[in-house]
Amino acid sequence: MKVASTETGFDVETVRKDFPILSRKVNGYPLVYFDNAATSQTPQQVIDTIVDYYSRYNANIHRGVHSLSQEATDAYEQARLKIRKHFNAAKSHEIIFTAGTTHAINLVASGFSALIKEGEEVIVSALEHHSNIVPWQMLCEKTGAVLKVIPMNDNGTLNMNEFQNLLSEKTKLVFVNHVSNALGTVNPVKEIIEKAHGVGAAVLLDGAQAAPHIKADVQELDVDFYTVSAHKMCGPTGVGVLYGKEEWLKKLPPYQGGGEMISTVTFEKTTYADLPHKFEAGTPNICGGIAFGAALDYMNGIGFEKIAAYEHELLDYATVKLLEIEGLRIYGTSEEKTAVISFNIGDLHPYDIGTIIDKLGVAVRTGHHCAQPVMDYYKIPGTVRASFAFYNTKEEIDIFIEAVKRAKNMLS
């Protein structure tokens, strides 16, 4: 595919060569992959790391006396250091490896059920993914705590005045996504954290959708918990991270019992291991953790500022082109948003559009995007969601626009 130079001087042509999957065909057409908010594609550098691990030093970590085990342990712990550095955590033991964001949120929610009392309040935003709603509902059912919701505005932003009104000395925890998965809205997390801390509440930010686009500095944000999934940032599935401030991680009880997370075990009493192992029961996704480190190296090698600038160029280009289609409405029009466009055309069902453009090689997400409250707000069954990554091009957007127009013609 011919790739024009970009306004931001970003060399997308070179970047694309790192992603073998981008040269495949789907249904006879060159793949146009615009489902990056669901999962990102994997560069050769990360694939090589995975192959290298299984080819040279696959072994269980932390316990072995043999060389292979030591090599694997070193690589895994090296990855933890890379993650610490990337998110600027103060200490490496504040980085807990998890299976992903959902696991990380459940870990915190489960821990808080021991700290929260009946009648106390937790606050969630209307923009959340189900994975940042359901664990807290379960927490409330278990403890008798009360769940409050920050309402949203028509443009997909949060109603911050209402948030202010919800806060009180009863508020113990606020959990909000850094970026909305359904709409791409970047939430004013700094303000949310400051206000929540003002009443003594802790804040968990679901960073799954932000991390591929925005380099969060957890100390600068002063956030208490931050969660990410590797597979949304060029890493493999099944691995992610919970960042937690040391003081909070010490307060939370362990999530799962098992090997690795103990200090001593007798039938009378077990003492738990120190952080981070207290929360890392069992053999972890060793290769996944190491590959996550490689993915961060890859993205940092390009640079998050460059990535963000180029993705915005794509977002602006696609937004203008899409709005030229008659009857098309974009949901989520916040000034601060990542490269995600959620839309519908007239009363066409998103599923129909998604199915037709898939036949033309274009991969998008359709449906409620695991954010039913957002869809209920707009009174729609779902949307078509195109989400861009730094390896996408304007030429691909042109193909996508033509595919959408063709689908519209077929379905109207």
């Binding site: 249904n27 066409l348 069902h349 599923y351 129909d352 199915t355 037709i356 036949k359 359709t366 449906g367 069954p381 779902g382 077929m410 379905l411």
Partner: protein, 141 residues
């Protein structure tokens, strides 16, 4: 009255006239327009088929020893798919519906929709039609 196999063959023959997926989909969309529509009073939660990204309602009732299906969907392609199924299975004896195979779906080039994990729920639709047939078969016995 044609039996299920004859109708299936007829549908396969129709689809064979088309060279590419686009024409097949256009035909499917056309077939959706001739779907015997479910009455509004039956568009209830209980008649919704689970496992579809779009909504699909199906209603069944016996007329003599024949099972009559009506349906609707809020998505056009899904409506086409259920229309094809109903054309083959409606106005048939429940026992024949239970025994019918679904190979014709593959033959008309909709094989990709046969995956149980596919979001359109074609497999769920077939299962639901057959469940109705099983239920009404016991009434007939």
């Amino acid at each position: 009255m044609s039996n299920i196999k004859e109708i299936q063959n007829e549908i396969v023959d129709e689809f064979e006239m088309f060279d590419d997926w686009m024409q097949r989909y256009e035909h499917m969309i056309e077939l959706g327009k001739s779907l015997p529509l479910i009455e509004d009073k039956y568009k209830i939660e209980d008649n919704l088929i689970k496992g579809c990204q779009s909504k699909v309602w199906v209603h069944a009732e016996l007329q003599g020893d024949r099972l009559i299906f009506t349906a609707d969907s809020d998505a056009i392609i899904t409506k086409g798919i259920i229309a094809i199924l109903i054309r083959a299975y409606s106005n048939q004896h429940p026992k024949d519906i239970i025994d019918a195979d679904t190979a014709f779906i593959d033959e008309i080039g909709l094989k990709e929709h046969l995956s149980p994990t596919r979001a359109n729920g074609l497999v769920s639709m077939i299962k639901q039609l057959k469940m109705y047939a099983v239920a009404y078969q016991t009434q007939l016995n």
